[in-house]
């Protein structure tokens, strides 16, 4: 099976994986062949990984079907792994510009909303303040965009995962928005 890999830093890699159960693999990356080995130690996320003769204590957590959190030597990587079929199916979808949503990452109280619908925001610009765990936390825009709707108002309690704001990509970049 061929996988298309993408890390959160934007690095991309294609790998051809042949699995020799239970735990042995042959990998082909960039024209190189690697022997590899991945053993599930405790069925709770601890893995023993070997690539050629290099050893790794890996911790793996699955976020969804395609996204994995892989931790090696204290460094944490979010990896998207898409297989050939998914890649083919998703190719079309990913070219469409997508609206982004700003969700509460924890339950809390909205203290302040600093933007209004229609307002253009830059990456890192404060959008609102959420009070939780005894701290006031500023929620900022991750990318440039335009505020499409504001779903909360000051004093309102929000649950984890609740949508607080929606952002559209900036008008000019919409057709070429990164997926």
């Amino acid at each position: 099976m061929k996988y298309f890999l993408r890390s959160s830093s934007g690095r991309r890699l294609e790998v051809e994986v042949e699995h020799d159960p239970p735990s042995t693999f042959r990998l082909r990356v960039d024209g190189r062949n690697l022997r590899a080995d991945l053993v599930d130690v405790d069925r709770q996320g601890q893995y023993a990984a070997c690539l050629d003769d290099r050893s790794f204590a890996a911790a793996i957590e699955q976020r969804d079907d395609q996204h994995l959190l892989v931790t090696l030597g204290g460094e944490c990587f979010v990896i998207q792994a898409t297989d050939e079929r998914e890649q083919a199916a998703g190719a079309l979808a990913s070219t469409r510009p997508r609206a982004e949503t700003v969700k509460a990452s924890m339950p809390g109280i909205v203290v302040r909303v600093s933007v209004t619908a229609g307002e253009a925001v830059s990456a890192g610009q404060p959008l609102l303040v959420l009070e939780a765990m005894k701290m006031q936390n500023e929620v900022c825009a991750e990318h440039v965009g335009v505020v499409s709707t504001v779903e909360v108002s000051p004093g309102q309690a929000v649950a984890a995962g609740e949508i607080m704001l929606r952002l559209d990509p900036p008008a000019a970049s919409r057709p070429a928005a990164p997926d």
Partner: protein
């Protein structure tokens, strides 16, 4: 006073467990209190007795001083240890504990009241000859008053909650135009956190270091300084990495700082453990505040002095004389990293979830003060600190490298933590050389400086390949490792068959 035989610990999490551990070593029975969010917590499980306080919100549970005192009386506890946070620096609670005929394991209410009032403590320190940061001598209830005071001191100034502590209700104001907004936010935060919105001002010192001195006293007038801690790696006045001793402080300055700390404590008739915080700039130090309680970072002092500070607090509370002599020398170097459930990539937003896939570090020179367990819910109700990682080395460089090793052994699944940031900071040249101040972390994060890290260049690529393999063999391995037979792995079963004279397939 009689020795303490049964102690109620009015706290939760890591510090409640840490206090219990000392009690169990001293043969003291422990009484835990808990909110409904903490039924499964380790501090409840390992207590001798435990009592439900109420709903999760602190106001309904860990801040219910009345209920806590009632429980202590009913269960026959003879003392209460408040830990840190919650009721630890509330002089009314201390008075109520005494009024109920119980011993408070901490300083006297009077000392706490003075040190809890930032202005009163400044005045007391000036009177005692302890150097303080230049600033206002009266509280400001509104922005206009604050602005007037700031003109006298000269910008930039620090706006601080009179009743504050722990970094809440603090703002830097660099020019007059910022005062209005800063006052409103900070005062509001202070009002919510401490029930008192009044503020005072101090000259903002550029690039100070945060150095604090541990003091320890008894009810008989003995009072000693037990070395210092360097706590300048902080963000929003929340410490992330602490160490003992501090780097590069001349011996005579150090001695003067110890003497000032003891003077500060003596000025308020202090006993028990306490911390005198100083700002250190250009070889000079200024009294910042005194924390009239056990400090989060107390373990680094314990490591270099081989002293159990909680034990000392309990003995002193029971009326014993301090047996430690002044002038004890630290041995080696200790570093602590606070493991918080928060996401440094998202401006330190608290990270909630269920802890799983937990791997704690171990080995030489490593101490883990933790309340984390597999299956623990990280809830929004409390402070985000999950654990403290503490190392001791025969010198600072060994301690630093040991902590790096520890942070690589550690894994916490289910929430984001501060571990990765701490690991990065430890690898900067500034930290390695001990050249840093309280602005370090902010500058570091703003400038995106990338330290020379000792990881393989292709680690990200390896992680990507591991992800691909994981997607491929998910499920397969689980089937292979089924618990058929007696639960031994396939290779053991194969070998056993060989041993027993069966097939020799390998």
């Amino acid at each position: 006073m009689a020795p303490i035989r049964k102690l109620l610990i009015a706290n939760r999490g890591e510090i409640a467990l840490r206090i219990q551990r000392t009690c169990r070593e001293m043969g003291i029975e422990t009484v835990a209190v808990y909110s409904s969010a903490d039924r499964e917590a380790l501090h409840v499980r390992f207590a001798s007795e435990s009592y439900l306080l109420g709903d999760p919100a602190p106001a309904d549970s860990y801040l219910r001083g009345d209920r806590i005192i009632e429980i202590a009386q009913q269960c026959g506890a003879d003392a209460i240890h408040p830990g840190f946070g919650f009721l630890a620096e509330n002089p009314e609670f201390v008075a109520a504990v005494a009024a109920a005929g119980l011993v408070f394991v901490g300083p006297p209410a009077g000392a706490m009241a003075i040190m809890g009032d930032k202005l009163a403590s400044r005045q007391a320190m000036v009177a005692a000859g302890v150097p303080v940061v230049p600033g206002s001598t009266e509280a400001a209830a509104d922005a206009a008053t604050a602005q007037a005071a700031a003109e006298g001191i000269g910008y930039p100034v620090m706006l601080k909650a009179s009743a504050g502590g722990g970094g809440k209700g603090i703002r830097v104001v660099r020019e007059a135009a910022e005062m209005d907004g800063a006052f409103t936010t900070a005062s509001g935060e202070a009002q919510r956190a401490f029930g008192d919105g009044r503020m005072y001002l101090e000259k903002f010192l550029e690039q100070p270091r945060h150095i604090e001195v541990q003091v320890l006293g008894d009810r008989h007038g003995n009072l000693i300084a037990l070395g210092e801690r360097e706590c300048s790696i902080q963000r929003r006045h929340q410490k992330l990495i602490e160490e003992a001793p501090a780097v590069g402080i001349p011996a005579d300055t150090r001695e003067r700082m110890y003497a000032a700390a003891v003077d500060a404590a003596r000025a308020v008739d202090y006993f028990s453990a306490g911390t005198v915080e100083f700002l250190y700039v250009d070889g000079e130090f200024y009294f910042l505040e005194m924390n009239t309680r056990l400090q989060v970072e107390h373990p680094v002092t314990e490591e270099v002095f081989a002293v159990d500070l909680v034990e000392q607090m309990i003995r002193v509370a029971g009326g014993e004389e301090l047996r430690l002599a002044a002038g004890m020398q630290p041995r080696g170097h200790s570093i602590e990293v606070r493991l918080n459930a928060e996401d440094p990539q998202k401006d330190f937003m608290p990270s909630l979830g269920t802890i799983h896939n937990l791997r704690l570090p171990g080995g030489p020179g490593v101490r883990v003060d933790s309340a984390v367990y597999q299956g623990m819910e990280v809830t929004p109700y409390y402070d985000s600190m999950l654990a403290k990682l503490i190392v001791h080395g025969s010198n600072r460089e060994q301690a630093r490298r040991r902590m790096m090793r520890v942070l690589k052994e550690l894994h916490v699944g289910g929430v984001a933590t501060s571990a990765g940031l701490a690991l990065t900071v430890l690898q900067t040249e500034a930290f390695r050389e001990g050249r840093y101040d309280t602005g370090f972390l902010e500058r570091f994060q703003k400038n995106g400086e990338t330290p020379a890290r000792d990881v393989p260049d292709d680690l990200e690529e390896i992680a990507m390949l591991v992800a691909a393999m994981h997607r491929t063999h998910r499920g397969v391995v689980r089937v292979e490792r089924s618990d058929a037979g007696d639960g031994l792995a396939p290779w053991v079963q194969v070998h056993r068959r060989n041993l027993l004279g069966g097939r020799t397939s390998r």
